[in-house]
């Protein structure tokens, strides 16, 4: 569900699976643990292996954005598929998207 690559103050969380209401709590617990432990200056959410995300993912990102920014850090979202990017855009968070993926994930 989540792999962590720690490069000092820059942490990449490689998420995998579907991010929906059912899965959100587990992602939230895992991400909050990393944020509390490492206080990242930059937390990169890598969506390469996320096949699906609905607005529950927006709630998840917004919540983490709040705590990371409170500690002076920032979040970026990498490898978002067009479908995931479209959902993120509706929330006004599209400035967080870097290096989007051209193809839709097929999982």
């Amino acid at each position: 569900m989540l792999k962590i690559y720690n490069d000092g103050k820059r942490i990449t969380a490689a998420l995998s699976g579907d991010i929906d209401h059912h899965a959100a709590r587990e992602f939230r617990t895992a991400l909050d643990e990393i944020i509390a432990r490492s206080r990242p200056e930059l937390l990169i959410l890598d969506m390469e292996n996320v096949g699906f995300m609905d607005s529950s993912g927006i709630g998840l990102i917004l919540g983490r954005l709040r705590s990371v920014r409170a500690a002076g850090g920032e979040i970026l979202i990498k490898n978002a598929s067009p479908g995931i990017a479209a959902v993120i855009k509706l929330s006004g968070l599209s400035t967080l998207i870097v290096e989007p993926k051209k193809q839709e994930a097929r999982l």
């Binding site: 929906d20 959100a24 699906f52 479908g83 479209a86 959902v87 509706l90 193809q103 839709e104």
Partner: protein
Amino acid sequence: MKKIPINECKVQFPALSRNEGLSRSAAAAFALQCDPTVEETAAIKTAVSEAVTNAIVHGYRDTNGIVELLMRLYSDNTIYIQIKDKGAGIADIKLAMEPMYTTAPADEERSGLGFTVMESFMDKVRVRSAEGKGTVVTMEKKLSGKKNDA
């Protein structure tokens, strides 16, 4: 002229969050016969996921019940999807459909974007609801793929 569906499928399941994935996979599977693009499939899955999650999170917040997903295909390649619950209902539909509006407690981190996503990804979204009786969300999307002339 009244449109007559050329195919129809109904899926019913208890309001458990684990069924959110099942419901959107069922909708994607039903849409396959229209030869949808990857983007169209993603749009249908996301819209269904939002409506079903609403039924589970809001409709059946204090009770248990059945969520019904009805899918129809018309000959002009329009997919019709209905998500029905017999739960709490929505007091003010217009307010509920406002972007970022949610009645869920803050600690649940609901974004309030469910209806916004549905309206953005589907051609038509209609909501009927009565407090204490339940909610019916109907959505339509015309797909670009091959025509399904019966």
